[in-house]
């Protein structure tokens, strides 16, 4: 029964939800504040780089059909490296996930629930994710697919609705904070595509191995498109000097949307959609962590792992004590952590694995050749 296998769209949306969750919080804002008015160019630039990066990953993965990054690290460094990779993934994902949920809950508290206790709200999110995860991995994927559709449409609606207020002159000065900031230090904004982390894990779950490339290309294209849309609607709508310091940027842009005279204050509806997005994001992260941990630790039932991961996320969400710390963690720790995990560590593992495998195969070919030579 291959009921756990994903088709192309489901796999693509798994990757996209991570980017979407970050877009809803502060990703466009962070990019804007780091490069200024050249944000659109920067996004195009990092999208291109990510695209190239994925093509390399795809090439490196090619000798390992049906394997994920954990299998490859086991291939290189045995069980120890596999466990290290697993722990690194688990910790970094639960950490960022916890912080993100905390940030989102703080925002909800600020807007709608002034009396709410934030850890309690985080608890509600986690409880929902746990319940959904207990229903089954495949269901998380299915729900996620439905919800990403809704969120994607919503982002487009936001862009279209705010289109009438757009000043296209705001893309000037064209180089923003400078050429260096845009193209050299701006490379670091590639962390926006940290959803790529799934591309290291997703391969064994695909219905059709050949779809891997398709999934990667589709998810990167869509992610960058939506990043572009949201960055553009922020950049062109507001003076970037203010958005740089503004929290909840996308929320702010929805507050200005007027859908006719009747729906003047529709932002609560967008909040509804974003709660969906965050629930989906949380469920997806927990489900994937459960999956890899179940594999690594050889556990029969996934429920205990779900609880442990949810608990770890809750603990991570209790770490920061002020919104300033949340901002710092999101802008710096998360940035460098995901850069390290996604673009450095996993890449190196993959590269070593690839070299070892090809070397091994080359050797075998050579030895076979030499055997043939001897026979001759």
């Amino acid at each position: 029964m291959n009921s756990d296998k994903l088709n192309t769209i489901e796999a693509t949306f798994l990757v996209i939800i991570v980017t979407l969750a970050h877009i809803i919080l502060n990703l466009p804002n962070t990019i804007l504040s780091s490069v200024g008015s050249s944000a659109i160019i920067n996004v195009l630039y990092i999208s291109f780089l990510t695209f190239m990066f994925f093509l390399i990953i795809n090439k490196l993965f090619s000798p390992f059909p049906g394997k994920d990054i954990l299998d490859i690290s086991e291939y290189i460094g045995g069980k120890t490296l596999k466990i290290i990779t697993n722990i690194l993934y688990t910790l970094s994902l639960t950490f960022t996930c916890g912080i993100l949920i905390l940030d989102f809950s703080e925002m909800l508290k600020l807007i709608y629930f002034p009396d709410a206790v934030v850890p309690f709200m985080v608890g509600i999110f986690l409880l929902t994710a746990v319940i959904v995860n207990k229903i089954g991995f495949k269901n998380v994927v299915k729900v996620n697919t439905l919800i990403v559709f809704v969120v994607l449409i919503t982002v487009v609606i936001i862009f279209i609705a705010s289109f009438s207020n757009v000043d296209y002159q705001r893309i000037f000065p064209i180089m923003g904070k400078g050429v260096n900031e845009t193209f050299i230090s701006g490379i670091l904004n590639i962390y926006a595509f940290s959803g790529l982390i799934y591309l290291y894990l997703i391969k064994p779950n695909l219905k059709n191995e050949k779809d891997y490339k398709k999934v990667g290309i589709a998810s990167i294209t869509l992610s960058s498109l939506y990043l572009l849309l949201s960055v553009a609607s922020l950049l062109l709508l507001f003076p970037f000097l203010t958005t740089g310091t503004e929290t909840l940027s996308i929320y702010m842009s929805t507050r200005a949307i007027k859908l006719g005279k009747f729906f003047e204050r529709s932002d609560a509806l967008f909040i509804l959609v974003w709660i969906f997005a965050f629930l989906a994001y949380l469920s997806v992260i927990i489900s994937y962590l459960t999956k890899i941990n179940k594999k690594v630790w050889n556990v029969k039932h996934s429920s205990p792992i779900i609880y442990i991961i949810a608990l770890m996320t809750l603990i991570a969400s209790l770490i920061p004590t002020s919104s300033e710390q949340i901002r710092f963690i999101e802008d710096y720790i998360y940035k460098y952590l995901s850069l390290f995990v996604v673009f450095v560590y996993s890449f190196i593992i993959l590269l070593i694995g690839y070299l070892k495998k090809t070397n091994y195969m080359a050797k075998r070919r050579n030895s076979r050749k030499s055997i043939i030579n001897i026979k001759h």
């Binding site: 709200m121 729900v143 509804l272």
Partner: protein, 564 residues
Amino acid sequence: MSFLKNVIKSLFEDEVDSANSFVLPETTQGDENKTVPEDLLKNKNVYPSLDVNLEYVNARFNSLINSDIKIREFLIHVKNKEYKAFLLYIDGMSDNDSINEFILKPLMLKNDANSSQENQVISQAITNNISVRKVKKFNITDYIYDSLLPQNDVEKVNSFDTISDDVVSGNCVLFIDTLDYAFDISTKKFETRSISEPKNEPIIRGSQEAFVENLRTNTSMIRRNLTNENLVIENLTVGKVDKNKCAVCYLKNIANNDLVAEVKYRINNIDVDYCSSVGELEQFIKDDITSTLPEAVSTERVDRAVSYLLQGRVVIVYNGCPYVLVVPITVFDFLKSQEDININHVAANLLKIIRAISVLLTLLLPGFYIAITTYHSELLPTDLLFSIVASRSSVPFMIIVEILIMEISFEIIREAGLRVPSNLGNTVGIVGTLILGQAAVEANIVSPILVIVVAITGITSFSVLDFSFSFHLRIARFVYTILGALSGFLGIAVGIFIHLAILCSLKSFGVPYLTPYAPINIKSKSKYLLKPAWKREYRDEWLATKRPKAQDEISLKWRKDKNI
């Protein structure tokens, strides 16, 4: 203690992948679990001695207590000999006239045919003065079968199981001394409601024929409407004490083999004493026994059942119930009406969209109302907000109390209106909704806006065609109302999210409940909205039928031919 154990077990163990993993398109053919386990102790045959038989029958049918089990003992005169015999039937299920006229009369009367010579000469030939006579040896069985039972449907049976099954379905059985078998004579005739119009699924253009309680009538109606020799109607029995007949109907050349096997397997393996209706049967055979959602469509329309059969689904007819079950289904089948295919696809799609909107409204409107008025009042247009505030200004209750009062009283009115005799039902509706509602508003117990909200919710819930599906919506609506009251959009979002996950996890005979949207299949030919009648080329691909195409690429040949 065991309860606690179960709770802990359910918390820490996965139960998803163990019990029932029937998935339709991916299973291979050849499901072996088809055989019915038979009770060997009961498997008795007819004894040669009539007295023993009589005793056995008396014991088996409890005829001393049972008032409608009739045993008529009498003598048969055959060839001037007398045989003891008795007739077993159930009063009220058999046709008394035909028993009297065409069974007892020929058997009991001493007529000429009965008193003729012993051996009948079939042919006589004289060769060499030796006459050779071909004489048919007298055989009482053949004689009775051939000459004395002027009935169309007579079978010789020797198993008491068969006999008892047939007797309870209205046949009468003739036991004759010295014979170790009995004659099973079809004399079924019982009072049925005549075929009537569908009461609960009315449509305007289309057949006005509904199922009745009688299984045979129902299957004959299906057969009358579906003229194809591949229609298979297999009879199965459900229940150990009340052996009710049920018929599994499918088109042999279209329906998926595994699906048919799975349906029969499930029905055959229900170990219950009785099952009183299709509604109960549906709960016995559904995939997810804990969900409140129905996993089969039940319909009273013959044409609807037939069109489902033609799509490759399986129809289960249950004796004693004027509804039939259709499996497998998706959630979107509950939003289909037979009307849809009778009218233009644009109009049908408009209706379908309206139905989808009303499902959303009936599910979420009270929840959204309370969430918006309690937490998100800025979402309301200012004028509307002020009129809501004004209308609520003298209402003493909190909104949640108000809404629960209204919702519960609405449900009570609905239930009362259903249960009272039909000519009182209208009165209950009028008193309940009009007078009470008006008075409640006048007395400032509820606000008029809320009455509107509850009324819209009520009306939209009637546009959901399936009775059991609307039950699910009603239950979920209360949950959403409470969630909305507790934490506004956050609660509703959490509710919808979990609800969606549950919907995604459901299956109806191996078909995911939200097909083709989850798992997503962009290329699916069976989306929610209908295509024009001439473009419905494919059967629903998730049924994995043997004949995926229902129409030719060019179905309207006449158009093309004319152009050439």
